[in-house]
Each structure stands twice: as C-alpha cells, then as structure tokens.
C-alpha cells in the first residue's frame, strides 16, 4: 500500500481482544475520520466504544477541535488546522483510546427517553396517501393505506409481532444527524431487529413526529420534511426550533448521542394533546431517566443462548419474508 499516492490512512492502532483495528483517515484539510475496523460491520459495541472515547476527548476541550460527529463505526473530527495539527489530534485520540484498553472499561452515560407512540395515526396516514396520490400510485409498500403491513411482510412476521418488536426493545442512538435533531436509532435487542427497504422514490412530505424505519434504523421526524423510511406511526416532538419549552432551553435538540428510546403505545389523541403541551402550553413533562450502557454486560447478554436462539428464529422468518415481499 505504501507508494499509493491516494493512501489516506495517516495512522493506525492495532486490533486488541476488545477492539477492532483503528484507522485514522484523512478527510480534508480540517477533517479526520476515525474508522473502527476495515469491514463494514454494524455492531453496537463499536458504537458504545466510539461514544465513550468521544466523551473523553470532548471533556478535554482540545484547542482547535471544532466538533465531533460520531456514527455507528466511525467518528468524524472537525478541526482548525491552523490551531491543531492532525498529528496532535491523532495523538490525543490515541491517548483516549489507551485509557480504556479492555471491554470492562467501556461504560457509557446513556439516558432512556420514554416516547409515547400511536400506530397508524391519521397524520402519518395522510403522508402515505399523499405519496400514493402524487409520487407512486402503485407503491407496493402501501397496504391498506399504510406501511406497517409491508414492514411485517418483509420480515416474515405478523403486524402484531412487528408492533411488539418496535415496543419490545430500547433503541440506541449511535449519533445524531441527517436532519436537524434527528437520531439514528438501533435496536438494542437483536430479536427486535426489523429490516426494511427504503421508499423508492422518496416521499415529499412527512409530518413532524412521524416514526419510521429504513434498513435497520428507526428515525423520528423532527420537523416536517421529505423522507424515505417506512412509516409505522407517530410520536411526540423531539425537536423545537423556537426553544420555548424548558427541555429545549439549551438548544432545539432533545436527542443526544448514546440516548436510548423506549416506545409505549398510546391512542392518537394523547399524541395530539402532548403536541399542544410541548409547542403551545410548553408544560409537557418528558419522561427521561439517566442510566448507563455497560458494554461487557451487553455483550454477555447478546451472546447468551436465549438471545441467539431468538435471533436465529427471526433471521429464518426474515429470509422467508424477503422472498415474499415485493421489491421497491
């Protein structure tokens, strides 16, 4: 690889029993991408480590470091090269990595945000109807005016089972992005890992609060916008431009990286009432608990026979579902 003029890997850290190889990739004159492993792998323990290291680095308040943007298996560092060299930045990241050498060290502050959810509510239904009317009249992902049956079909489960999977796990935020205040939420329990294709072509409108899933990720729409995730219902505001409600007094964002979301089912009227109490009366009390993610405990649990049996069962159903469900 040496001698390749397009080699962008500035430095590496070797693989250890509790961590993948780390690659420091040049990403511009003010950006550095830190990548975990050479393979595209979607594994929550990588995200736990990235976010734990991210917390350590941010706490250091390094001069010249503008911001970090953690993702599932990468972290992007945005810096001012006139104040901080990439070599110095890499040295700081290495130190932070070395300060938590084993899996026992990976403990992450992680809040649990309880969000009410109304399945197949009328507002989200409008978005699906609009899509059929204006974008794709023959959309195979719309069954009985909604996407939930298609989601179930793709995974070889019933609609009731799909709902229970959404409600039955915590959803872990590997980092915010894509849209202001948006979070990429991954199922903590792999037995609840629905996987669905995205809209093709995308929607032109989605109401605020709509909850959808694309690939394995759940997303709650922070403001009205287009979008490509399959919609299953609507939750309450998770963002507020005006910052009027006290929970938004520090900024318009509810979600932080490493948050976990737990949905519970309610009737649509409750969602509408809460919208009023968040945006107008500004007196809704969000249900948020502080907590931790302990990577070692997660790995022990996820590798247990009980969980793995469940995963195998789900994968078999999904293989069947993929065969039967129409492609988008």
């Amino acid at each position: 690889m040496k001698g390749n003029k397009y080699d962008v890997i500035l430095d590496t850290m070797p693989e250890t029993p509790s961590r993948l190889e780390i690659l420091f990739r040049q990403a511009g004159d003010g950006f550095l991408q830190v990548e975990y492993g050479r393979e595209q792998r979607a594994a929550l323990q990588d995200s736990f480590r990235i976010l734990a290291v991210n917390d350590i680095i941010r706490a250091r308040q390094i001069n010249g470091l503008i911001e970090t943007v953690p993702g599932l298996r990468t972290n992007l560092f945005h810096f001012d090269p006139q104040a901080l060299s990439s070599a110095d930045l890499i040295a700081q990241i290495k130190e932070a990595e070395d300060s938590m050498p084993t899996i026992d060290d990976v403990v992450l502050e992680s809040r649990v945000i309880h969000l009410p959810l109304a399945f197949e509510d009328s507002e989200t239904k409008k978005a699906v109807q609009k899509y059929v009317k204006e974008v794709r009249p023959d959309a195979p992902n719309v069954i009985n005016g909604y996407n939930l049956e298609y989601m179930a079909l793709c995974n070889g489960v019933t609609v009731a089972e799909a709902k229970n999977m959404i409600l039955g796990t915590e959803w872990f935020n590997s980092g915010c992005g894509f849209w202001p205040g948006g979070a990429f939420l991954w199922p903590v329990d792999p037995r609840c890992a629905l996987v669905v294709p995205k809209y093709n072509p995308p929607r032109t409108w989605t109401p605020e609060g709509a909850a959808g899933i694309g690939g394995p990720c759940v997303f709650t729409y922070t403001t009205p916008t287009g979008g490509g995730y399959q919609l299953f219902g609507r939750t309450i505001p998770t963002f507020q431009f005006s910052c009027k409600h006290p929970i938004f007094k520090e900024g318009p964002f509810l979600y932080r990286p490493a948050d976990r979301v737990k949905f519970h089912e309610v009737q649509e009227q409750e969602i509408l009432d809460i919208f009023d109490h968040v945006h107008n009366k500004t007196d809704y009390r969000y249900q948020i608990e502080s907590g931790q993610v302990v990577a070692k405990d997660y790995l022990t649990w996820v590798h247990s026979e009980e969980v793995q049996n469940g995963v195998r069962e789900l994968k078999a159903k999904q293989a069947e579902g993929v065969r039967k469900a129409p492609r988008l």
């Binding site: 511009g28 004159d29 950006f31 991408q33 911001e67 849209w179 202001p180």
Partner: protein
C-alpha cells in the same frame, strides 16, 4: 432599514463561518457560499469579514434603503444600479435614505453576488450564526429567502459614513472568476485501494466535470463516473451499490460524495450524515469557488494538494481578508 421591493430568485442573509459546531446534531454550517466575496464586501464597508450580508443568487433583487449608509457589491457582475445609474462594484459607495439598488441577471462569470452594508444585516443569531439554512428553513431572515415587502434591520456602522465610503481594493486582490473552476482538494476518506481504483482516482483528479443545473446550496451535482471507478463490486452491509457504505458523517463543507455514479459536492446546507462514500474534500480556502460555479454552464476540475498547502492557503486567505487589502 432595507426594504425589499423584489426578492429576485434567491436572496439570503448569510455570514461566515456560519453555524459551526452542530454537525453532530444534524445541522450543517450553512454560511456564505462565496465567503471571499462576502468578506471583501464587508471589509469595504468597515465590517468584520464574517458579518452578515445578502447573498444574491441568480439576480433580480431590488431594494430600497430607509436610511443613509454605505454599501459594497462584490461577486458576479449583475449590472447593479443605484437609482437607475450604474453602481460600481468592489468598492464602497455612500447611499442615501430612499435610494434604490437593483440587480439584473448573472454576469459572464460567476453566479452569486454579495451586498455588504455598513453594520451588517441585523437578524437575530440562531445557534451562533445569522446564516440562513434554506434547506432546513431556519436562521437568517425567518429561515427563508427574501420576498417583496420584507424589512431588514441594519446594524450600527463601525465608523463615520464619510470615512467608510469610497474604499477600494488594492490591485491584484480581487479574485479571478472563470467558467472552469480548479478546486484544490485532499483525497479521502474513501479512496484507493479499498474503495476506488487508482485509475478512478486519477480520473477524478484530471477530468473536467460540468456542474448540473440541479445544483443548489445543499449539493453541487457533477457529471457521472464510469463503473471502473469503483474498487468493490458492492457496498457490503452498506448496500447493493459500490458507492454505498454504512452511514458515516460527511466532512462538510467540501466533501465529494459519490452517490451511485454521481459525484456530488456537499456544501453549505448539505446533509451531515449518510450512506455514500466520499472520495475527496475541497480545501477550505477554495470553497468560495464552488459558490461562483454556475449550474448548467461552468465546469470543475480537482487538483490534489497536501495538508501543508491547504493550511497555508487558509492563512493566506485570512490575510487577504484584512485591511491590508484596501487601497
């Protein structure tokens, strides 16, 4: 106060460096698309180079001043007039209460022009910046482009108006506008050998790419790449196309995103995160050139540089945007 008579095609309040620090919350920096032209306009009227001004894309703005002040117009030559008389560009000009500025269509070279006003455009800063994110509908003036009837407040000039008028730039300082824009760029994070073939990277750094007419403040779309560009048959867990990758943060402003076979420069209002690889990054000091690239007309080439040249270019640009550049 500045009263908008005709909002033209797309006129936005923008500052520089924009809304930094919120990429991790899904908010791109926005900011002036050509920060050099905005910087000179500000400098000429006595503002700090990053003060908020008007970014005029496509042309046809018409506006009336409700007070005496000093203005400067920089960027593409939209044949601006003041009360119907030709208004000189790249210098500061005194305007009186009741005067009207009017802009025509884009010039022979460049796509955006900037109106700097002594004291700047006074809109409330949102998350640390006065810039408009048109894509997300926040910041700037009510989160949108200007329209007839809007009334913009102006800040307090940083000096006596008679001292701020008649300022010019030194010879050789004014940026050179072309129809073929050479952007200096650093390869990465997704290059050869793992994501792109060496021939693919060679092509990226030699081909001239026409700017697609659909380009806007979020994304500048370029001519498609051949299949031979990719070193992988597919994107693995990331997706079926070799440009797919598991979602990662985009190094904006300046990332060249490869979306399917289409290279797309992610700029001011671009997405912060997504599932496509990024093959190079335009250096910070050359971002302004993208903003002057005219969709449907101009072309872009990339020239590979290293960190040292890029850092030096940042320093040089900062120096250029100082009082030392005034005649």
């Amino acid at each position: 106060m500045l009263k908008i008579i005709n909002g033209g095609i797309e006129v936005l309040v923008e500052d520089w460096p924009g809304r930094l620090g919120y990429l991790g919350m899904g908010m791109s920096a926005s900011g002036a698309f050509d920060n050099l032209a905005l910087g000179f306009a500000n400098l000429l009227v006595g503002n700090s180079p990053g003060e908020a001004g008007l970014e005029i894309t496509g042309g046809f703005l018409e506006a009336q001043f409700a007070r005496d002040t000093v203005i400067a117009v920089t960027g593409t030559d939209m044949k601006p007039t003041l009360n119907g008389e030709s208004l000189p560009m790249w210098q500061s000009v005194a305007v009186n209460r009741g005067d009207t500025v009017k802009f025509g269509h884009i010039g022979e070279y460049g796509f955006r022009c900037y109106l700097g006003v002594a004291g700047g455009i006074d809109v409330p800063a949102y998350l640390g910046s006065k810039s408009t994110c048109i894509f997300g509908g926040y910041g700037g003036f009510e989160g949108r482009k200007l329209a007839a009837g809007d009334e913009l407040k102006l800040g307090a000039p940083r000096g006596a108006l008679q001292d701020l008028a008649g300022r010019r730039l030194k010879d050789g300082v004014r940026p050179d506008y072309q129809r073929q824009w050479q952007l200096r760029a650093i390869p990465g994070p997704n290059t050869s050998p793992d994501y792109v073939t060496e021939e693919g990277m060679d092509l990226l750094f030699s081909k001239s790419f026409k700017i697609n007419h659909n380009s806007n403040r979020s994304a500048y779309r370029l001519d498609p790449l051949p299949e031979s560009f990719f070193a992988r048959p597919d994107g693995g867990v990331g997706g079926s196309h070799p440009s797919n990758i598991l979602d990662h943060a985009y190094a904006i402003r300046g990332a060249l995103n490869i979306c399917g076979n289409t290279p797309i420069l992610l700029i001011a209002d671009g997405p912060t995160l997504g599932g496509y690889m990024c093959a190079l990054n335009v250096i910070n000091a050359d971002l302004w050139k993208i903003g002057q690239g005219t969709p449907g007309r101009d072309s872009i080439t990339f020239r590979m540089v290293g960190q040292q040249e890029a850092t030096e270019a940042r320093r040089a640009q900062k120096e250029l945007l100082s009082e030392a550049s005034l005649a």
